[in-house]
Amino acid sequence: MKYFTYERAQDVRQAVASVTSRPDAKFISGGTNLLDLMKLEIEQPTHLVDISRLPLDRIDETPERGLRIGAQVRNSDLAADARVRSRYPVLSQALLAGASGQLRNKASTGGNLLQRTRCYYFYDRNMPCNKRAPGTGCAALQGFNRMHAVLGGSDACIAVHPSDMAVAMTALDAGVETVTPDGNTRTIPIAELHRLPGTTPHVETNLQRGEMITAVTLPPPPPGRQIYRKVRDRASYAFALVSVAAIVESGGGRVRSARIAMGGVAPKPWRGTDIERSLAGEPASDRTYTAIAESALRDARGFNHNAFKIVLAKRTLRRTIADAAQA
């Protein structure tokens, strides 16, 4: 690990100013991903600003009957919160499907959103990787790409975003509250937080340098049944091959409304707004779900080792939507 200086942040604005004023400074909260990457010298910050003790660890009701989740709320606390469990079960389920008990006790809400990909070539400094070393190429395209993206990738990068939590938050239309380097606050719709790789896979989010996530806001829970289904190589403690967050409201034999997001298939949580529109008003039948699943993966592109994900994603979508549509 490269040497760095350490500072415990006193308040949000001072922390933002501190990171903004140093070219290679970073925030640290749970550290479960950043320290892992620092040990491998994939991340080499020269200064760390510890924001883990900032008073951003509350979950509050919003006037609109939604929730405002502080960025320092730990994943385990968020998953166990009674309001989240009863009103946003898809979020609890997604959190509980990710990582281990020890990691969830440490990982923060903001840090979970900003975690880096687990692409083997991103982690291997002997291999080319446009995300780690821009311009060196992508070893995954012709390499062992079993875990990689089938949607939203580019010729420069097919790494997937590893978060389960972010997939559920995407289906819930969450907002990401931040403090920008000039000291202002803004709210970014979660669908606009992460970027697709294009030709610049090293630029992963639309955050400015030094901008800090302070909270995630959830609008009131949408009507319908919420389900998060994760398919992975092991029964526990493994990243998703495919995951689906589905919130489906049905009645009178028809789908009234739906919210669908997928994980494990794309460089960012993959919102299926097109299929949501197509689902609304259709008969709640397997025929509908099969057609929807086909259209959701219409533009998918498989590689040597991950083409199975296209079939798996269709089946997982169909099954999860069907389960959520059962009133």
Binding site: F4, G31, T32, D36, K39, A80, R85, G101, Q102, A235
Partner: protein
């Protein structure tokens, strides 16, 4: 109760003491000598002599471990695990993968289980840290330790301190009504600690000897004993 600063604690082992480390190193050196015909020490010497790494600046911190306070001077890069093992010689917490995957380093911080390898010691000033060395009270094993012994919940024992600390933290989570991926109803506050629940909740602790059936049995015993 935090110990007074003047209370003695071996910052380094007395020089003549054999330690497990020196024993292992001696064993390793003998193996290398046997394999290559060259003493391992001689091979290492040039590199050691040639290296002139300046000491990195350190930060003074105080850690509270097993109810005792330890003043330390640490390079900010020091993980909590390395602070415990290398600076305080509390070698009960084990280093397996050093990347948060195996759980051998699990300790309790303010009662919660975490991976000591994936956190910086400087971030834990003021926290109450409990390691496996702090679980027994006056020589009486913690119920989880006793259950692991009774059920033979290990083979080589390397993952055991992590398994034990993880179990202590996990049982508190169950007591607090936290759900898991294995819970059929995530809204219920009363968790039934079935085998599937135990295996899911303990999935952050790997045992390469695969002593899992006995580990699960030990945890079941403790859970039943405390009415969980």
């Amino acid at each position: 109760m935090a110990a007074k600063d003047d209370e003695t604690w071996p910052k380094t082992w007395p020089e003549n003491w054999p330690t497990r480390r020196t024993v292992l190193e001696a064993g390793g050196a003998a193996t290398l000598l046997f394999a290559t015909g060259m003493p391992a020490r001689a091979q290492q010497m040039p590199a050691l002599q040639g290296a002139s790494v300046p000491a990195a600046p350190t930060t003074p911190i105080k850690l509270i471990i097993n109810s005792r306070e330890y003043p330390l001077e640490l390079d900010p890069r020091t993980t909590l695990l390395d602070a415990l093992r290398e600076h305080l010689l509390l070698t009960g917490s084990k280093k397996g993968c050093d990347h948060g995957q195996c759980g051998a380093c699990t300790v309790l911080v303010n009662g919660r289980r975490i991976n000591a390898c994936l956190t910086l010691a400087v971030m834990h000033q003021g926290d109450e840290i409990t390691t496996v060395e702090g679980l027994a009270v006056n020589g009486t094993l913690h119920p989880v330790q006793a259950a692991f012994v009774a059920r033979d919940g290990f083979q080589c024992g390397y993952c055991t301190p992590g398994q034990v600390c993880s179990t202590v933290g996990m049982l508190k989570e169950v007591e607090a009504g936290w759900p898991s991926h294995a819970s059929t109803d995530i809204t219920t506050q009363k968790v039934s600690l079935t085998e599937a629940e135990i295996r899911e909740r303990m999935s952050g602790n790997i045992c390469r000897c695969a002593a899992y059936p006995n580990i699960v049995a030990a945890i079941r015993d403790v859970a039943e004993g405390t009415g969980l």
